[in-house]
């Protein structure tokens, strides 16, 4: 029973299989012990031999059906779906023998599901030629083990028929002494067999029909070919032959978890001094705009502090290459966010942590458990958290570490923490980020995956080349940051500060978007421009049908809302499965994205980075003007790589957070933000100010005290 990595042992799911095994073995043993001896004498010695062979066959097929990998597809690497970004449709058509078959994008596995493949929610895997998930064997039935399952059914039916028939012979011949032990036991065995006779025979018959028609249970039950032609059929004989005689397909999932990160990324990321530095930080968790309807319990001070620490610690883990978050305590992370303080540092931490855990969780070897609780937490917090994450992260580890390493005395050139470029650089590795999309010399994964949240992925080992590179990247990041800081100092005039924390995310996302826009991939708008993204109908078949719906409910301007925006935010929601307590005001965000296409969250291969990550564009910004849909479509991001263009030239008075083409951008604001207007240009976003206040040592542009 191949399990997706990190699944916690749930005893409840083993009950049916244990029951089935117990009944099978128990009843058959009783039959052999109590009934067969007489049958051997009275009828023939062939009886137990025949029954024994059938029973062995049943057991063997049962074991194969239970323990064999059904044909699980491994998760696709980030680099593979860079083409299939959130702008790509939810469905892709492919022609199979002249018939159009729809391939759906799998948000969990990040590829378009091949025909006949389906994602099993129990196993959380895409399975090739998915038939169904059988609780009696506690396994999916797919390409590789369908034959064994079918043979199990056939042999079990034969076995049951045999047991009932021979039991009947025995009972009829011992009718006079029905109270005798042997007879009673035989009758009990016959009852058990008789009880399951009808269901098993029925299921067997059903599968015989399916096999001859060349359909899977999934296709039959969902009525895919009802009234139509099945393009996968090979004719009756061909289908039977295919099921019974085709070669055993290979396993795709490679068992040994590849976690090179642990080995490779260590040095820059594990900074004990950072931990020490970070630990005493009093992290005040604000609920960051999630308050509305989130139903989060408010956690009083000490808890928040604890949470912060947990986050920090968790973040530590997160920063570690292994990203397994072994000590991750989901509970701690989401203790809840007291609504009060504007400080979003805690949020960032938790966000980072969450994203990290999500990321880790989603991958083999990741802690799936961690993922679950996170998901249950509900959507909105996550994206926001993740938005802030970058701020926190760099402060926390990467940039700090570099700062401490390279510049121990000086305040880190930590411009508006919003540009955790350096931090991100260090953070980068876990996310692989692609940040470098378009950020050639600066690899910094500006697209920190924490931001993306919903798309946690285990970076392919291939991406993390060596430490030196990351170190150099970090150094580059630092230089960039310092340069930006210089720019900011010269230019920053007004500060952000009005809308408070709640605005931060939006501004941040904006910033991110803009930063991304700086990214090299200008023309190749990956996730980019709002209008590109949205094209309502153009969405058609968007991977995010739910989003589409929700979007349509928004204002027309919003309709442009990037798929991404929802995507990143929503993806989280969707992933989290917790659209439930969506804040009313923030409801725009809430639509659950069924399939966040390529969720913006994760860092993609270097070529990709930014776009996906960014998606924090709030969909419901009422005034997302067409101008937003700039060609490059990137809405400003604070810390994104500058791409080919190098650092953006920051207009005077413009806060770095609003880099990009600020004049094109309407102020984005979070729907929930109390302020009704966007922060003034040039103001430091709340996030940055929060982060700055959190890390006073890090100099940055003047900021509003928050």
């Amino acid at each position: 029973m191949p399990r997706s990595p990190g699944t916690r042992l749930k005893p409840a799911k083993y009950i049916p299989v244990a029951t089935a095994a117990a009944l099978l073995v128990g009843s058959s043993t009783l039959f052999f012990v109590f009934t067969c001896p007489w049958l051997t004498r009275a009828v023939s010695p062939a009886v137990p031999v025949y029954n024994g062979i059938i029973f062995l066959f049943v057991l063997a097929n049962f074991s194969m059906a239970t323990f064999m990998d059904p044909g699980v597809f491994p998760r696709a690497d980030e680099d593979e779906d860079k083409e299939d970004d959130f702008r790509a449709p939810l469905y892709k058509n492919v022609d199979v023998r002249g018939i159009q078959v729809r391939m759906k994008w799998c948000a969990t596995c990040h590829f378009y599901r091949p025909p006949r493949c389906s994602h099993c929610s129990v196993c959380d895997n895409c399975v090739e030629d998915f038939d169904h998930h059988c609780p009696w064997v506690n396994n999916c039935i797919g390409r590789r083990n369908y034959r064994y399952f079918f043979l199990f059914l056939l042999s079990l039916s034969a076995h049951m028929v045999g047991v009932v028939a021979f039991g009947l012979v025995y009972v009829l011949n011992h009718a006079e002494g029905l109270g005798a032990a042997h007879t009673t036991i035989t009758m009990a065995v016959m009852c058990v067999a008789g009880l399951f006779f009808i269901p098993v025979i029925g299921l067997t018959g059903f599968h015989v029909v399916l096999v001859t028609r060349g359909r899977t249970t999934n296709e039959q039950v969902t009525g895919k070919f009802r009234g139509g032609v099945n393009p996968f059929t090979r004719g009756c004989y061909g289908n039977v032959e295919h099921v019974l005689c085709s070669p055993l397909a290979p396993r795709y999932v490679v068992e040994p978890p590849r976690l090179p990160l642990a080995a490779r990324l260590k040095p820059p990321f594990l900074r004990p001094e950072l931990l020490e530095r970070a630990a005493p930080l009093k992290v005040k968790l604000s609920d960051n705009g999630l308050k509305a309807g989130l139903g989060r319990s408010k956690v009083p001070g000490p808890d928040s502090l604890t949470l912060g620490e947990d986050s920090i610690h968790s973040l530590d883990f997160a920063s570690e290459p292994s990203l397994d978050l072994p000590d991750y305590t989901p509970g701690g992370l989401h203790a809840a966010y007291p609504p009060s303080p504007p400080l979003s540092a805690a949020d960032t931490f938790s966000g980072a942590l969450r994203s990290l855990s999500l990321k880790a969780a989603s991958r083999r070897g990741g802690d799936h458990v961690a993922l679950q609780p996170l998901r249950s937490e509900g959507g909105p917090p996550t994206p926001h958290r993740s938005i802030f994450a970058p701020h926190a992260l760099p402060n926390r580890n990467g940039s700090l570490s570099y700062d401490s390493l390279l510049n121990p005395g000086s305040p880190s050139g930590h411009t508006c923490p919003a540009h955790p470029s350096a931090g991100m650089a260090s953070y980068r590795s876990p996310y692989l980020h692609p940040g470098a999309v378009g950020d050639p010399p600066r690899p910094p994964p500006r697209s920190f995956s924490p931001v993306l949240g919903p798309r946690p992925r285990e970076p392919s080992p291939v991406r993390y080349d060596n430490l030196s590179r990351t170190i150099m990247a970090s150094i580059q990041e630092r230089k960039d940051r310092e340069e930006r800081e210089r720019l900011l100092r010269s230019q920053a005039d007004s500060l952000f500060g009005d809308s408070g924390v709640y605005d931060a995310p939006s501004s941040y996302s904006l910033q991110q978007a803009s930063a991304l826009s700086e990214g090299p991939r200008g023309p190749s708008l990956r996730y980019g421009s709002r209008d590109d993204l949205v094209a309502g109908p153009g969405f058609g078949g968007a991977r995010n049908p739910a989003l589409q719906t929700s979007l349509s409910s928004l204002s027309s301007a919003v309709s442009r809302a990037p798929r991404t925006s929802s995507s990143s935010l929503q993806a989280d929601l969707a992933n989290n499965n917790a659209p439930g307590p969506r804040p009313g005001s923030g409801s725009h965000r809430s639509p659950v994205r069924q399939g966040p296409p390529s969720p913006p969250s994760t860092p993609r291969s270097p070529s990709y980075a930014g776009p996906k990550a960014v998606a924090f564009i709030h969909t419901d910004l009422p005034e997302s003007p067409p101008s937003l849909a700039m060609q490059r479509g990137r809405i400003g991001t604070c810390s994104r790589g500058w791409g080919r263009r190098g650092q953006p030239r920051v207009p005077p008075g413009l806060h770095l957070c609003h880099l990009g083409l600020p004049e094109d951008r309407p102020p984005l604001r979070a729907p929930w933000s109390p302020a009704s207007r966007a922060p003034p240009r040039g103001a430091m976003c709340r996030l940055h100010s929060a982060a700055s206040s959190l890390f006073p040592g890090l100099s940055g542009p003047e900021r509003d005290t928050k």
Binding site: A60, S63, D79, E80, F232, P247, A249, S607
Partner: protein
């Protein structure tokens, strides 16, 4: 997609080869390929998707991707993909050997799988040897690396167009956006 790639790989190879004997050259070449593979994050990746026109049998599209236009001849590419397709067809063929294997497996209550390699696995080994060989002979000199589709669940074949690894930080852009400075 620059010539530097080719130069890089060649230089790298020659350094290694220069030191060793002829017998070591293949090892070093393999090492180079591994290096290339490791630096895949730097690489442009071109994916060749499965061709489902004949159902779910394993086949890859032979359509020549435009991104490889400058790097490899069309005919070479097609030949490689066609050979791969034929290997997979052979692996999935329902014929004498698969019958025998099935019967034997049944007869031994599937314990035979513990000892024996299935037909498909044998062909997969053949395929990876073939891919390795193709990489060494044809693709690496062109700065490309063909990955084994089985790594990705046979959904896609990827060509990594490895860019030069230099002191600069990798960009890993797609379609060569991240060219080296």
């Amino acid at each position: 997609m620059q010539l530097e790639c080719k130069t890089y790989s060649r230089d790298y190879g020659s350094e290694e080869v220069g030191q060793g004997l002829e017998t070591e050259s293949s090892a070093s070449l393999v090492h180079n390929l591994q290096e290339l593979r490791r630096s895949a994050s730097l690489a442009t990746k071109v994916f060749i998707q499965r061709d489902y026109s004949d159902g779910t049998i394993c086949q890859f599209q032979t359509k020549f991707p435009p991104e490889l236009d400058s790097r490899i001849e069309r005919q070479l590419f097609e030949e490689t993909v066609k050979t791969l397709n034929s290997f997979y067809a052979e692996a999935e063929k329902i014929g004498g050997s698969s019958y025998l294997e099935g019967c034997l497996a049944c007869a031994t209550a599937y314990f035979i799988f513990l000892c024996m390699e299935t037909h498909y696995e044998k062909v997969l080994k053949k395929i990876s040897r073939y891919i390795q060989e193709q990489n060494e002979k044809i693709f690496a000199p062109r700065g490309l690396l063909l990955t084994d589709p089985v790594e990705r669940g046979m959904r896609v074949v990827s060509f990594l167009a490895v860019l030069c690894k230099g002191p600069e930080l990798p960009t890993g852009g797609f379609l060569g956006e991240d060219t080296q400075k």
